[in-house]
């Protein structure tokens, strides 16, 4: 007799087998549907500690996922938010976010007793899909129709793949009126001619395409959309392509902020994106910090950043990261300057410096990358210049070529697992340092005549301060509340029933004492949403 049950078990076994094979065989980054599948299966295999929500659906019809990792009630513990896919060309970010979630659940699940994680793997799904399309080019916006050059026409001049290689690279035109010349280190690369060094330009350089609307500009208004990382309120770049008509105009930006504003327990936000204050900390600038519209990290926060940056570099062990503090309208700077949280950001990976035979690294980023790519045996890093005929330059020599898109910003996929592991380790370190308010040295003594003196140190056992210096100013971080609970027959002789503290530094405390008349017991509670709350019941003497 045919055993149905056994057959189906066999089938399941095969499926598991295939799935495992598939995962181990993954050789490139995950597109939207693959990423969605990964998030869902991650949640399904960790139903008690992982919760998956649809944050929103973008105008392009992609779902934005919010994954909460927590043991027990998420909002009762200090939380770290991890936000990636902030920039559509950073394909590494979403992959890292999933891996970090997976690592936490597999290898560090106990951290969830004390810390909650809110993970948003991909905030720019419409943009990251470009990496997987048959025509690869940087397009970091969402699906909103935009008039990028503000000329009254929408999407009238997009890129064109002139050499039919499935990549949008650059286009150079031999022309004595051009400003570009070949770089001596590597003649494939064009740089601006420097007349002070006796150089003369012989090329014009454009992105690959045709001037479809005949306005003299190339590819200035394609399917631009609005960029997640240009649509926030800090240093918003008005009227620039991809910024939108006003800050936080897009659903994904708005709904992410609503989510974050509602979670009072968040103390830190880690952005996986182009901005970087982890391998190189932000520098304090006194005049920028004193302005009404603050433009510099505040002094104490700069010191905190330095401390965390040292920790990061020790764990990650990668040097020479490019400095990038954000170009305005970006999420990372918003999370610090406008939200006041402990804000950390890293691209996760950058091209290591490669020294030539004279032990010198090139100052030109592309040269450096090409040297590294050669060393790592990465194929197709550069599209060699080939001549094309171009309708806008009928009598000129026009060549298409240049660095392949995405390659310089994202490592080969095989490196992703290790990068993710190291970043998980750092995030776990960060969680271990989180602010943690406790009641210490709690004593009660009889003063006589039915009066009891209660004394306590409200202590932050974490290494991190309860509030960043910026967070002390922000209405979106609660103060530390120290409250004593009495019944009707008890009376405070000295001390206040409720005290609010602006902050407590790492490993520091504030002393309190009360004189209470009456008998029975009173309750004492200290802390707030993002620091944890400690409480005690005290018997009156």
């Amino acid at each position: 007799m045919f055993n149905k049950k056994r057959a189906s078990l066999f089938f399941i076994g095969m499926t598991i087998c295939f799935t495992t094979l598939q995962i181990s065989a993954q050789s490139d980054y995950s597109n939207y549907s693959k990423l969605t599948q990964k998030i869902k299966s991650l949640q399904k295999s960790n139903v008690t500690n992982a919760k998956l929500e649809e944050l929103t659906t973008t105008i392009g019809g992609h779902k934005i996922w919010a994954l909460t990792l927590s043991k027990g009630k998420a909002e009762n513990k200090p939380a770290i938010a991890i936000v990636s896919g902030v920039d559509g060309s950073h394909i590494l970010g979403p992959e890292m976010a999933i891996n970090i979630a997976d690592n936490i659940l597999k290898n560090h699940v106990n951290i969830l007793e004390k810390t909650t994680f809110y993970i948003f793997p991909n905030m720019s799904p419409n943009a990251t899909e470009n990496y997987f399309s048959s025509l690869k080019h940087y397009k970091n916006g969402n699906a909103k129709k935009t008039d990028d050059d503000r000329d009254g026409a929408v999407n009238e001049d997009s890129f064109d793949d002139l050499n039919n290689d499935g990549l949008i690279t650059m286009m150079r035109v031999e022309d004595i009126t051009g400003d570009y010349t070949k770089l001596k280190d590597d003649e494939r690369i064009l740089v601006k001619a420097d007349i002070n060094k006796g150089e003369k330009g012989t090329y014009k350089l454009f992105s690959e395409g045709i001037d479809n609307d005949k306005d003299g500009l190339f590819n200035e208004d394609g399917k631009g959309g609005i960029l997640f990382n240009k649509n926030f309120s800090y240093n918003y770049q008005y009227f620039t392509p991809g910024a939108g008509e006003h800050p936080v105009s897009e659903k994904e930006n708005r709904d992410l902020l609503s989510f974050l504003y509602d979670r009072w327990n968040i103390f830190a936000i880690v952005t996986l994106g182009p901005e970087n204050n982890l391998s190189t900390p932000l520098k304090y600038n006194a005049s920028g910090a004193k302005k009404r519209v603050v433009t510099s990290v505040l002094k104490q926060d700069a010191a905190l950043n330095k401390f965390l940056s040292d920790k990061y570099n020790k764990i990650i062990k990668a040097k020479d990261a490019p400095i990038s503090k954000g170009k305005g309208g970006d999420f990372f700077q918003w999370s610090y300057f406008h939200f006041g949280k402990l804000a950390l950001s890293t691209p996760g990976w950058w091209v290591p410096q490669v020294k030539d035979s004279t032990k010198k690294a090139s100052k030109n980023k592309v040269v450096n990358y090409l040297r590294w790519a050669e060393k790592e045996n990465i194929k197709n890093a550069f599209v060699d210049w080939t001549t094309v005929s171009h309708p806008d330059f009928p009598n000129k020599k026009v060549e298409v070529g240049g660095i392949a898109p995405y390659k310089m910003l994202n490592p080969p996929y095989k490196m992703v697992a290790d990068i993710s592991k190291k970043h998980t380790d750092f995030i776990i370190e960060l969680a271990k340092m989180q602010p943690n308010i406790t009641l210490q040295n709690l004593t009660s003594e009889a003063v006589g005549n039915g009066i009891t003196r209660i004394s306590v140190d409200v202590h932050n056992t974490g290494l991190l301060p309860t509030h960043t210096e910026m967070g002390k100013r922000s209405r979106w971080l609660r103060k530390i509340k120290v409250a004593i609970g009495l019944n009707k027959n008890q009376e405070i002789i000295s001390g206040k029933e409720i005290r609010l503290l602006n902050s407590i530094d790492g490993d520091s405390s504030v002393k309190f004492s009360w004189l209470i008349k009456g008998n029975g017991s009173v309750t004492l509670e200290a802390g707030t949403s993002h620091t944890g709350v400690d409480s005690a019941t005290i018997k009156l003497k």
């Binding site: 918003y236 006003h246 936080v248 902020l257 504003y261 009404r292 922000s474």
Partner: protein
């Protein structure tokens, strides 16, 4: 018997009512200059209306004038109330949303209520005077008004129906944690004397710094350093309230608090920099509804918002840091309108927010101008000048005015109460409807003058015409057609802020019906200086049509057929003209 007679009377009234709906018998009235003398919709302009009251009035106006008014809800408030907008124009002439538009709103600050009534007055005046008054008729033929009487309907009602000061709630009704203790709106005002207003608390105190004026028990006099006090001393204890949450403070977490006029998306700053900001630009449903409406209506060229008080006609910049946004050409236009306003509104001053009031980010007028290139004013309705029609601050005049002209209606006399923390106290003071809100008998005048100011502003939105078309024969069967486009009002089709950032698309001047060989902008006709447009010469793209100025365009065409010239300007309207 009596009962029956009453029923009979009511029946008779019901029967007669349809004939008399709204209007009075024309033989019974005589027109006062400048006012609708027998309006279809009867409205009392010596009282204020709740949000439902304003909604009902706007519906009456819309129902009575279906060819002039379209009423729509532009969105919902935080508590789910409709935000009603009246779009008023002569719908029988031209395309409504292609006419130069004027946007008008009131009451963004919930306690600053007059804007609601001024908006209704304006809608009423426009509709009742159409075809009665030439200026108004032309205005509605050529322009469209978008009038939103209240953009804070939730808290307007709270101001009127709940206990408040003259300055609260100002915020909307979304609860926020002002003292950052984890609780929301847990310690608001308490109306101890139950008069519907939050007045003041005072207490007899041997250490107090005040005495009661022996000649007027309403008043308190501050004791000076050399005064010899022979009577009972008092101390002030702040606004009426109790410590609801037991934290040792009174009224420290009232409604909100946030300021809807710090929520707009031009150079927005968060709460720690700009007190009152909410989460992000347009994080409030009400401001967002307005922004979405304005973004969808690029024909809006002028705007006005109504606040109170102080008698001010305000323009931006709101913030000192934003000084560079307002450039000279546009300030000249603001000045021309603002100074006219000073004349039309006695006691009002034309001022610039950042230097004359306070330096502030995220305001409505800055978004309208900075982000959309729309010339916008904010009027602060009502000034103490109105009490006795003279300038100067006199502390006694509010007390005098209350007694002499309001028959004492504006003041709640001091009365003794027991306070849970302070013990025996006295509560009293001016009511919430006095001091900032215009007293009833002056409201219609204030509404009228402010409306007239907005009309002056709306009048100077661009007004385009194709003033001349000339044709010149050329050899080879070609013809040169030159058209002059005239704008005979103050405002250009693009403010200089607009031109700086290409906010609004260019104006299109196009020709149809002929074979166009070349098209150009004529920059100097006498010396034949032109700028050719190489691509698509039949549809010329013109960056701007200046105020009180002209633009000349030229086409070289083949053939001699009939042609039509069309001017298509987002803020200047759509018009065309054909040759004979």
């Amino acid at each position: 018997m009596k009962f029956n007679r009453n029923i009979l009377k009511s029946l008779l009234l019901l029967f007669l009512f349809p004939l008399a709906i709204g209007a009075q018998n024309s033989s019974e009235v005589f027109r006062a200059a400048g006012s609708p003398h027998n309006p279809k919709v009867q409205i009392s302009f010596n009282r204020y209306y709740t949000s439902e009251g304003l909604a009902a009035l706007s519906k009456k106006i819309a129902d009575a004038h279906p060819n002039l008014v379209k009423r729509q809800s532009i969105g919902k408030s935080a508590l789910g109330k409709d935000i009603w907008m009246l779009a008023i124009t002569n719908y029988k002439q031209g395309k409504a949303d292609r006419k130069p538009g004027f946007y008008l709103d009131g009451n963004i600050h919930s306690n600053e209520i007059q804007g609601g009534e001024i908006s209704i007055y304006t809608a009423w005046y426009l509709t009742e005077n159409f075809n009665e008054n030439e200026y108004i008729t032309n205005m509605l033929n050529d322009r469209i008004f978008y009038i939103v009487p209240t953009i804070n309907p939730d808290a307007r009602n709270d101001f009127m129906k709940e206990a408040n000061t003259g300055s609260s709630p100002r915020s909307g009704m979304i609860a926020l944690d002002d003292d950052r203790d984890g609780k929301f709106d847990e310690d608001g005002y308490d109306d101890i004397d139950g008069d519907g207003s939050i007045t003041r608390m005072r207490r007899k105190s041997d250490d107090g710094n005040y005495i009661v004026d022996p000649l007027d028990p309403r008043k308190m006099i501050a004791i000076g350093p050399d005064d010899v006090v022979t009577t009972q001393r008092y101390e002030y204890l702040g606004n009426e309230g109790i410590d609801n949450d037991g934290d040792g403070r009174i009224n420290e977490d009232t409604h909100g608090y946030y300021d809807p006029n710090r929520d707009w998306g031009w150079k927005w700053q968060p709460d720690y920099i700009q007190r009152g900001a909410y989460k992000h630009p347009f994080s409030l449903p009400e401001t967002r509804a307005v922004a979405d409406f304005v973004l969808a209506h690029p024909n809006i060229a002028g705007a006005q918002s109504f606040h109170n008080s102080g008698g001010m006609i305000l323009r931006g910049p709101g913030a000192q840091e934003d000084l560079a946004t307002y450039n000279r050409q546009d300030i000249r236009i603001y000045d021309a309108i603002g100074k006219k306003g000073e004349k039309m509104l006695p006691g009002y001053r034309y001022l610039t927010v950042y230097k004359d009031l306070y330096s502030v980010f995220g305001g409505e007028l800055d978004w309208f101008y900075g982000s959309r290139g729309i010339y916008t004013f904010t009027n602060e309705i009502f000034t103490s000048f109105a009490y006795y029609k003279k300038q100067g601050r006199d502390r006694n005049q509010t007390y005098d005015f209350d007694k002499e002209l309001l028959m004492g209606d504006a003041f709640t006399p001091w009365k003794e109460f027991d306070h849970p923390t302070y013990g025996k106290i006295e509560v009293g003071g001016f009511k919430k409807n006095f001091g900032r809100a215009t007293p009833g008998f002056m409201l219609e005048e204030e509404a009228h003058r402010n409306m007239a100011f907005t009309f002056y502003h709306a009048q100077h939105m661009p007004n385009l015409s194709i003033s001349n078309i000339s044709e010149k024969k050329m050899s080879g069967g070609l013809k040169e057609i030159t058209a002059t486009i005239k704008n005979d009002r103050l405002m250009p089709t693009h403010a200089s802020q607009d031109l700086k950032y290409n906010i609004t698309r260019p104006d299109y001047i196009s020709i149809s019906g002929v074979n166009v060989i070349a098209g150009m902008l004529v920059t100097n006709e006498d010396f034949n200086v032109t700028e050719e447009q190489k691509v698509n010469p039949a549809k010329l793209r013109v960056r701007n049509i200046p105020g009180n100025g002209v633009v000349k365009v030229r086409w070289i065409v083949k053939g001699n057929s009939k042609f039509t010239i069309t001017v298509d300007s987002a803020k200047g309207g759509l018009l065309s003209k054909s040759n004979k």
